[in-house]
Subunit: 265 residues, 2 copies
Amino acid sequence: MCELLGMSANVPTDIVFSFTGLMQRGGRTGPHRDGWGIGFYEGRGLRLFQDPAASSESQVAQLVQRYPIKSEVVIGHIRQANVGRVCLANTHPFVREMWGQNWCFAHNGQLAGFAPLPGFYRPVGDTDSEAAFCDLLNRLRQAFPEPVPVPVQAMLPVLVAACAQYREKGVFNALLSNGDWLFCFCSTKLVYITRRAPFGPARLKDVDISVDFHAETTPNDVVTVIATEPLTDNEAWQPYGAGQWALWCQGECAAQGASECGTTE
Amino acid sequence: MCELLGMSANVPTDIVFSFTGLMQRGGRTGPHRDGWGIGFYEGRGLRLFQDPAASSESQVAQLVQRYPIKSEVVIGHIRQANVGRVCLANTHPFVREMWGQNWCFAHNGQLAGFAPLPGFYRPVGDTDSEAAFCDLLNRLRQAFPEPVPVPVQAMLPVLVAACAQYREKGVFNALLSNGDWLFCFCSTKLVYITRRAPFGPARLKDVDISVDFHAETTPNDVVTVIATEPLTDNEAWQPYGAGQWALWCQGECAAQGASECGTTE
């Protein structure tokens, strides 16, 4: 399958530490050799790095690990291909402009027999993940004509209902953002941790690197990291249950709930 | 203003040589310090590197200069801001998905009093360039409902008419691609060169670097490079006239013409 990485923070924060851990799983400590990608929101812009090469060997991944890009919202992904061959067009995260905002999406899982109605947004590659992302945006556009953009609280019922439907077709762990917030949906496997004062040390599971967040942060910083599996081995990551979703804004949980449909409950 | 760089080739070709020349003009030999970007088509995917930092100092630009990404269509840009502040969201090239294809656009010039009707595609940043790109795509979608995608020959009259209108509002030198072809429009300044066998040496104007294309190519290679100003000083770059446009496919000119409207003729 794949692994997800998300971050929501109340100050521009670099994700080099978590990203370095995740990248090891792209061919070194994990089997996700079929590409990787990461999108950093920077104001209204989105800085996207992607490579269909294994992250543990990618020159672009090495650059991103050396280059402390500070962002309040990040979505990353490493891929072990199931649907769709290994190529750039099938590499997450996927991006579309909607309502003058950059929307970014990454998915872990597989959807069986997923054939959404063609709409305005269409997949460029041939993954079920990009098809689901396009379908999600098509549903939002249809549900919310002008005036746009729509407050995220109004969108949540549409978002959650769509995710619950996708989940009925297989496994749908996903991250979605428009730069203002980070939405996550758990179908089978997703964990999170919120780091805030007093900050302590953290040690990566996949490579011998530690960081003392106390030295890197201010007392008001709040940083939430979401991942498929815990990235550190000395912190208490919280698991999401099947069907649970959450909306993160500036590192804090702004809304959460559980969808009632789904065949795996 | 800004400078454009485009490439159309019949084999995957790296643009490191031309890109290295252009990057010098982003703060070293030229004043275009306000960001740079380059998009490489790779199959149906598009690899985009952007930075609002000066290209002559950008770590990401250094990576791209070291990293011979091979592509058949490339669009690059260095920016000297006039409309819109210096930030990632205002950095060219701009990308949108239309009809399941990645469309990529870069613009040199400035449009006065440009306020297109809001449509499906909306600018994320606040440049006249991105507004023109969105308007261009909105016109194409409106002109060509299903079935899509449309052959480029059918689209050309709409494309050229739109560019001619933009040109009436100021300066509109532009590059546009969907990955299959490269379209260029000249309002004031655009040059091109087609390199084919017998290949010879080329020497950059902006930095002491030469390349012997004979050693780097096969006899069947055809590579066209389009730029705002010639990038080499020992080759004969061909200038486009005001209002001229061309469509390049696999390094060869597939169609060309001159628009008749425009206030500068």
